[in-house]
Every structure is written in C-alpha cells, then in structure tokens.
C-alpha cells in the first residue's frame, strides 16, 4: 500500500502536463487555514491535478530504489536566506537521497525552517526548466545550447552595433555564488556597460548606502550568533519568524536569558507574537517613531555621552531635529502614543547592550535611506555600536545577497565598492591584468551627463538600476542619459514579480527586441507578457549542482560542495558566462588568469582573483584553502563567539567574516563584530572608518580619545597611505617586494597588502580611526527627516512633510516625486497597502512554488484585511476580492480577515505570480515547468516611488481599494 492517491486516471485525462489550478473551497479564517483545508480540497481529483501521481511514483521510486549502495555526504548551505544554514546531503548513485541535520554547524545547529527542511526536493526538480527553449510564433520550442548561445550572441552584437553597449541590460542575481557574482560584474564591464544590477537594489540598497555613509561599511555589524549577548532586541520592519526563522533560535536564546524583545511593525506578525513589547505604526513613519523614541532618550539623559563625544559626529544636529518630535507630534503622524513609544525607548536604554534589527519594512521606501540612518543614529546615541550584543543587525534576504552586493553586481560600482571613478577602473584593470584603454574602448564613447560642468562618459556614470529598467525601455529616448533605450534584457536569476508597476513592466517586456531568461525555472518573466518571438529560456543549475563560496548576512564566507550533477540540460552560471563571453569575443580578456576546463571556469581561480583585488572590504584573506578548512571543521567553532577553539582553524572566526585583512598568508581571523575597539585589529577588532575626510567646517571628524586595543596611535587617525607609513617611520617594516608595489598607493590599492599588514602590526585599522557621522552632507536629507509617502493616506500632512522635488536625471532617468504627491488619492483609494513575506516561499517564489512540499502549505494568494474594512466593503472571509491600486493595476485574490492588521491597512504577500489581473497564465509556461501554485503578484498593484539615494522601490506604503470580485 503506497502513500499515494489512486485517482490517477481522472487527473491524467484532465491534465497530462499542466497542473490545474486548485479550487479553494474553505474559508481562510486563519493564516494556515489553507493548509487545513487542503486535505479536503485535495481529496478527489484535485490533488492529483496539482501533483501528478506519475511524478510521485517517480520520486518515490528514485528515493526507494537508491536508498541502498554507498552513501557520500556533501556539506552545503541552504540557498533560501541569508542565515546560511548548514546542510548534510546524502547522495547515493548520484541521487540526492537524504538530508541530515548539521548539528555541528555554527549558525543553525541542525535547525531548518520549512524552506531549509525541504531543499532535497531540488534533487527532484520536476518543475525545472529542462533544456534551452525559444519562443517561435508564440510557442516554446526546444533548441540546443549551441543554437541558443549563437542566436543570443548575434542579437546582442546587433543591438550593440545599432544602439551601443548600454542598450543591453545585464540583470544578475543574489543567487549567484561569490565567484559567479564577481564574474558577472566583470562580464558586464568587459561588455562595456554599467547597466548591471541585482536584487540588492530592491531589498537593502538603502541600508548599504545609509549604513556605509554613517560608519564605513554597509553590512550587518554583528552576527545572528552574537545576539546571544544582547540584553534588548529591537526589530523594526522585519518579520524574522517568517523571513529568517532560524535566527529566532538565537533571539530566543537571548530572550530566555532575560533580554527584552521589542517589535515595531504595522502588522502583528509572527515575530510580534513573541515580543515583550509591540509597537504598531502607520506604514512609512519610521523616522517619526525613531525620533520619537530618541526624544525620550534625550529628555531623560539616557544617551551615552562619552561614546558620543569620542566616536560620533553630528549628534547635535540630530538632537535639534529630534526636539521637533514631541510625543504629540509622533502620535499625530505615526499613530504611536507617548506611553508605547517611551516604553520602547526605555527598554532599550535600560537594557544594554541592545541590538537593532531591521529588514525590508524599513528599507523599501522613497525615504529608505533616511530610515536606515535614523536607526544608526539611535544606536549611536545609546552607545550600542562596536559592542558584542549591540550593533545594527541588518538581516539580509537572499543567501548570497551580501556577497553579490560586495562584488558590485550593481549599476553604481565595481566589485568592493570601489565606485566607477577612473581610479576604480584602473585598480581593477590592474587586478585583471588588462590594458585600461581596451576596457575603455568597450564602452560608449559619447557623453550624456555632466559633472561639475564637465561631460562624463557612460563608463563613469551610474547605470540604470533594476528597479527602473522598465523606464529604460519605455521612457522617451531624449530623456534618458544614454545613447538609446534598453533593447535587450538578460534576466539572470531574477523574479520580475518582485518589482513594482506590473502593467508597465508587461509593456516594457513586449517592447524589447530580445528577452533572455537564465534560471533554473522559467519564472514569471516567461509568461507575463504577450511576446511571440525572440524570448529565450536557458536552464541554469542551482547552487546544489555546483560549488563555491557564499556570504551570509553576518559577512561570513561559507564554502559549498557540489551535491549532484546539474539536472537535465542545465549548466552552472559560470559555464554559461564563459560560453557567452566566448561568443561575444571577450573570453580571452575575461578569463585571462582563470583556468577553463570544458567551458567551465575553475571556481578556485576566480576566488583567488578576487582575493587579489578586494582590499576595501577585506575579501582578500579568504583563500579557497582557508574557506574549505572552515567548511570541514564546522564543529570547532564556538556557537556564540564564532571563534574556533583549537583545531586546524584555531583562532579564526567562522567563515572569516569580512574584513579578513591582508593576504591569506597573513592569516587574519576575520572580523566578527565591526568597529569593536575592545579587540586588537589583528584579532578582529576595528574602529569606525575614516571615509569622509578628517575635518568639516573646522570640526574634527577623527575619533577623539578612543582607539583600538593595542593601537600604536592613541587617538584618531586618517586612512593609511604609503606616505603615512613613511611619516610614521613604519615604511621599513615593509619587505622590498611590498615596497615596490605599495609606493604611491593606499590601503585600498596596494596589491601587495603590505600597507594593511604594517598598519595592523601596529594595532591600527587600515581604513583609519574616525567618528561615525549622523549627518551625511552629501545626501538629499543630511539629517534624516520624515517625508510623507508619494501615495499617502494622510494628505493633510503633506504640507508639513512634503516629499522631494522631481528630478531630471537620477540614475540616467527622470524621476518623479512631488508631481505624484501633489494629487490626493486617499479619497478614491482609502486603504494603505503594504506587503511582506511568508515562511514557505522566497522572493518571487518561482522556485519555492515549484516545490510540492512547500507549495502545499500555501496554495492561494491572499490579502489580509481587517474585519472593519471587510465589513465596509461588503467582503466575507475567504471570498475573492479585487485589490486595486491608484495607478490602475489590480489583482484578484482571496480575502483573509485577520486581526493582525489594523483598520485602514491591507497586507499582501509578494511571492506569488502567474496570474495577471484576474487572468490565469498557466497555459503559457513551457510544458511541465509551471509551478504547482500560481497567484496574483502583489507588485501588479504596487506603484511608482524610488528612494532618493539608491532608487530603491517603494513596496511598503501605497494605497488601494478593495471590492468583491
């Protein structure tokens, strides 16, 4: 008796390849009612229609038949979020037959959430894109890899000849491993464009910009494990219980030891359910609430005055802004009353060290960079920075979004945040061993922007960000600061439904000359448009089918083994990159110092190449050999400090969290907590970075009376250069070889690593010792201020808290602010619309909705609506409703009436796709590769709005109306 449905005949008739949408008959009175009902709904033929029995038979047969024979065990890391949970994969006869918990892994100690506990399903991959395909007359046709690469390559060259290199858009991925991410950015450079970007733009770009501009680096400062040491944990705009479930293991450890947990969120989330104190705010009022808390801190003298005087610049200007946020004004703007606000501030002030955690709820706003800087100012005021148990623990999203960001799969920088200046290009040309003139010649030689009255070439101007690629296609050519519109898109591991303005995106896709998807799944990109030709789908391998390193949220690099060979005809990303480069005639330059075997570039050679260039953020010490040693010795690392106690990696921190300074031979242990002066730099200590000069308007920007342990300079100091070593009399500490390479260079550009080595020998941070700055004078709002959202529910507040003026050219494109906010939409669209995550799915969800073990748990796209709003609109629980946004996009979803959301707000998850404004697109997927669960994408409804520094999209605060369908 097998665990199988017997209604196979019914379903085979109804559905040989395409799974039918399930009919939902139950009423979702509870967030999990979909599951409860599934057993019933799935009863008759419906279950079989979703997961065909033939598929189950096959999966069972493989698992059962292969559970004998020799077992090999591979060590990998889950690909579903940035926690970086370790995995033991058991392989028999080349089939992934078992998944065992990695109890000895320092991050997860064997634990997994729904996604992590189901990764073995990747080994089945029933719904994968199986071979290269091409759309011919509206039909998907199988083609060979050779044909695909040839045709795509020829068309890319054609676009290049007609419109220049900037008309091809290279959209990369946080799903690349580090080596692939680095290679991808390099490939875009070799092609000659900065039109390259990835998901970080739409998840934490405002964090990276805000945080890096405050104290030097744009990353989580401590680690999930270090939260064990926290006495208070404030989570704002984050729902880690669903987005990073394993992190809760670490939060609970602190909580059970007495730490206070505060959750600030418009929605009573699963995380809020475990909080000691919950604060509900109106979406988009983070600055008001944070300043409101700081009002109480200053009012009661709870700030850390010594820390501020030694290590912080500009707190007085913050104080002046905060003074405006009296308890009354905070309540008027955000809805948070005095008592609730004060309690949050007091809990943080009285329980130190405290950590400050934020996610997308804080970043995805037109004022995202203001939010992130306000959070930083809060932690600086309390003196929580550079301390174990403190810090800004920014939980990143994808498993390697930190790495892909660090490697500059971004339109505004080269790898390592070197930027796009002439010096940056020169540095990387040196690392790549290429003539800078050759690279320059690859770019468009025209000029479309000016800087300080002088024309700048596209090589040195920021490219179009992923959030705006549709405008790169649709905007009038004359309004774009490049030669021509974007004409060809390469979607390499990216879900289009994670981006706003769905109806316009559909138009943009249809206008493109060529659309290429490179992904393990067809993704929504394959179906949301009505193109008939010139769309290509190329099957990419997952990270379980290749190997290399990935950077977790805490900056640790983890090495993955390959578990199984690529399924079907899929190929690893770096192999596809090589094939494309070869076709485009740039392989010799791109792979000059990288060994290539049968079209597959050697991963270790790529790691070694980036080790030679990533001095800024210390990706230089993490050689493949050191990373592999860490991977083989998970059990030797302490689960709180992450430090190896004995064993081959003795003294190292797990994964050599960057910066791991100098060369691998220097054996720097990595930096577990950034800016921690209680440790010497060579043991992982650090000061704040001297990134913004040494003085401003006569005020010293360097640290005063604070320095790292064992520092030879007992005061603030600027960043290290060759000249500075000479002045200090340390030049002769360099070897002769180092001297040759270091001459005229600084800590970022000295390819010998000598300057870093000598600075650290003397207990100094290579990047200097400065104050963190609360005022970023280069940003539109130097002091973070509150500004109402573009589509605000409180138009009465616009006069006092207006948005920005429209801009003519921002990341090459005209960008609207005030002209949208000018109109009051709140009468016709009376509800605030916000979005978030579900634990079962990740990102756009193409991968996870194709995994039956996960898909079964969430079968319907829904909208959480408060009972009162539902009654007002005449809507019952479980009913089909339309959610419509002010730009005309609408979606048909299930109503879920829930007390988790307050009256006036609608919450929707963003992982669904495959339905478009009421239309089911299942028949448009290539045969057999449609995800089990489809649904409306919330971003079909989400509207215009971009952060003023990074062009991050606004997905957390718009307006909508709901009505019965």
């Amino acid at each position: 008796m097998k665990l199988m449905k017997r209604s196979s005949d019914v379903c085979r008739e109804a559905d040989a390849h395409h799974a039918k949408p399930t009919v939902f008959s139950g009423l979702p009175t509870n967030r999990r009612n979909f599951l409860k009902n599934s057993g019933i709904v799935m009863g008759g033929g419906a279950i079989a229609a979703v997961a065909t029995p033939s598929m189950m038979k096959k999966a069972q047969a493989t698992a059962a038949a292969n559970r004998s024979g020799e077992t090999t065990v591979a060590r990998s890391v889950c690909t579903h979020c940035s926690v970086g949970c370790g995995i033991y994969a058991e392989v028999q006869n080349g089939v992934w037959t078992g998944q065992e918990p990695a109890f000895d892994h320092p991050f997860n100690l064997g634990a997994h959430c729904a996604k992590g506990a189901s990764v073995r399903e990747h080994g089945h991959g029933e719904r994968r894109l199986k071979y290269p395909m091409k759309q011919v007359g509206g039909k998907w046709t199988r083609i060979s890899w050779e044909q695909a690469i040839n045709e795509i390559g020829d068309q890319l060259q054609q676009v290049r000849e007609q419109s220049g290199p900037d008309s091809v858009y290279w959209l990369g991925s946080a799903k690349h491993n580090n080596e692939q991410a680095y290679l991808f950015r390099k490939l875009a450079a070799m092609w000659g464009t900065n039109n390259v970007d990835h998901q970080a733009r739409i998840c934490h770009s405002t964090t990276v910009a805000g945080v890096a501009n405050t104290w030097g680096y744009g990353a989580m400062t401590n680690s999930y494990n270090d939260i064990h040491n926290s006495k208070a944990m404030l989570i704002i705009g984050g729902n880690p219980a669903e987005a990073h479930p394993v992190s809760l293991q670490h939060l609970f450890r602190a909580k059970e030891a007495g730490a206070k947990m505060i959750v600030i969120d418009p929605r009573f989330t699963r995380t809020a359910a475990h909080a000691d104190h919950y604060v509900r705010l109106r979406p988009g009022t983070d600055v008001a609430v944070v300043w409101g808390m700081m009002w109480h801190i200053f009012e009661n003298g709870w700030e850390d005055k010594e820390f501020i005087s030694q290590r912080v610049y500009g707190m007085d200007e913050i104080r002046a802004e905060v003074a405006k946020w009296t308890p009354d004004e905070v309540e008027r703007v955000s809805g948070v009353d005095e008592e609730t606000c004060k309690k949050a501030a007091q809990l943080m002030a009285e329980h130190k060290p405290g950590t400050f955690i934020w996610c997308m709820g804080g970043t995805q706003h037109t004022t995202g960079n203001n939010n992130t800087r306000a959070y930083c100012a809060f932690q600086l005021a309390l003196g929580n920075m550079g301390k174990s148990g403190g810090g800004t623990n920014i939980f990143r999203g994808h498993d390697n979004v930190q790495g892909a960001t660090d490697f500059g799969v971004l339109s505004h920088t080269l790898p390592g945040y070197y930027g796009l200046s002439e010096g940056a290009w020169k540095h990387w040309a040196g690392v790549w061993d290429l003539d800078p003139e050759w690279i320059k010649a690859r770019f468009d030689q025209g000029s479309y922007e000016e800087s300080k009255g002088k024309p700048v070439s596209p090589m040195h101007t920021k490219g179009i960000p992923v959030s705006r690629w549709i405008d790169g296609v649709l905007e009038e050519k004359a309004n774009i600061a490049q030669k021509d519109n974007v004409r060809a898109m390469i979607f390499w591991g990216h879900a289009p439904n994670s981006q706003t303005r769905g109806p316009e995106m559909k138009k943009a896709m249809e206008k493109l000359d060529m659309l290429v998807v490179i992904d393990p799944y067809p993704t929504v990109t394959a179906v949301m448009h009505d193109r008939t030709d010139n769309t290509y789908l190329l099957p990419a391998a997952t990270q379980f089918e290749t190997y290399g390193s990935a950077t977790a949220s805490n900056r640790s690099l983890q090495w993955r083994d390959k578990i199984i060979d690529p399924l079907f005809e899929s190929l690893p990303d770096h192999t596809i990159m090589y094939k494309l480069a070869k076709k485009l005639g740039i392989a010799d330059q791109t792979f000059k110092n990288i060994q290539v075997n049968n079209d597959e570039p050697l991963i270790e050679d790529i790691t070694r190449e980036f080790n030679k260039g990533m001095w800024t953020i210390g990706y230089t010490g993490q050689s493949p050999e050191r990373l592999k040693a860490h991977q083989q010795n998970w059990h030797t690392f302490n689960t709180t400090s992450l430090k190896a106690e004995g064993g081959p990696a003795d003294g190292d921190f797990y994964g050599l969290p960057w910066p791991s300074w100098g060369t691998p031979e220097m054996k720097h242990p990595g930096t577990p907590n950034l800016y921690d002066t209680s440790k010497p730099v060579k043991e992982g200590g650090l000061t704040f970075r001297a990134r913004f000069g040494t003085e401003r308007d006569g005020v010293n920007l360097l640290a005063e009376g604070s320095w790292g342990k064992d520092s030879a300079i007992e005061d603030g100091y600027p960043e290290f250069t060759a000249d500075m070593l000479k002045n200090l009399g340390w030049w002769d500490d360099l070897t002769e070889t180092e001297k040759t390479l270091a001459e005229g260079k600084n800590w970022k550009t000295d390819l010998s690593g000598g300057i870093q080595r000598v600075a650290i020998e003397h207990g100094c941070s290579p990047f200097g010792n400065a104050k963190a700055r609360c005022v970023v004078w280069t940003f539109p709002d130097p002091v973070p201020i509150h500004r109402e959202p573009l589509y605000t529910s409180r138009h009465d507040l616009v006069e006092k808290y207006p948005t920005y003026e429209d801009r003519k050219s921002f990341y090459r494109l005209p960008t609207r602010y005030a002209s949208i906010q000018a109109k009051d939409y709140s009468k016709d669209f009376p509800l605030i619309h916000t979005s978030g995550r579900l634990v079962e799915y990740e990102g756009g969800g193409d991968e996870t909705r194709s995994n039956p073990w996960l898909a079964e748990l969430q079968q319907n796209m829904f909208a959480e609506i408060n009972q009162a709003d539902a009654n007002d609109a005449g809507i019952r629980d479980g009913q089909d409703v339309w959610v419509e946004g002010p730009e005309g996009g609408k979606m048909k979803v299930k109503a879920k009436i829930s007390p988790s959301i307050v009256r006036g707000v609608v919450w929707t998850p963003f992982h669904f796709g495959g339905h478009f404004q009421g239309q089911d697109l299942r028949s448009k997927y290539p045969e057999g590769s449609d995800p089990y669960v489809l649904g409306e994408a919330t971003n079909t409804v989400f509207t215009y709005g971009y952060d003023s520094v990074t062009a991050m999209q606004e997905t957390k605060c718009s307006l909508c109306k709901i009505y019965p369908a």
Partner: protein, 65 residues
C-alpha cells in the same frame, strides 16, 4: 384528507413507532491483540544499545557544544 389515506398514514406511523420499541443490541468493542506482521524493530526497541544510541542522539540535537 381521505379516510383511506388517513389509515395509511396511521399504519406507517404505527410501524415506525414499533421500530422504536425494539430492544437495543449494542456491541461493546473489546480491544484485541495485534494481528499484523512482526516488526523486526521490536527485537531491538528497548534494548540498552539502541536506547543509549538514541539518548546520545538527543544530546546532539539539543547541544550547544
């Protein structure tokens, strides 16, 4: 209603009521002895060796090293 039909209804009613007065025959279910195949695991379950192994495993699951 015609008299003949009234009689009919009464007769049916009578029959139905007669059914109600029948003595109930409730069968009490006695749990029996397992009648299935022997699980080879039973020869090992509860042995000190397996118990020790399982205890060690739980320590591993819950340990923080």
């Amino acid at each position: 209603m015609k008299p003949s039909r009234r009689i009919c209804v009464l007769a049916v009613l009578g029959l139905l009521l007669a059914g109600c007065s029948e003595p109930p025959t409730i069968e009490i279910h006695e749990p029996g002895v397992y009648k299935g195949k022997t699980d080879p695991l039973l020869s090992r379950s509860g042995t000190p060796e397996l118990e020790e192994q399982l205890r060690e495993r739980l320590t591993q699951v819950q340990t923080d090293r």
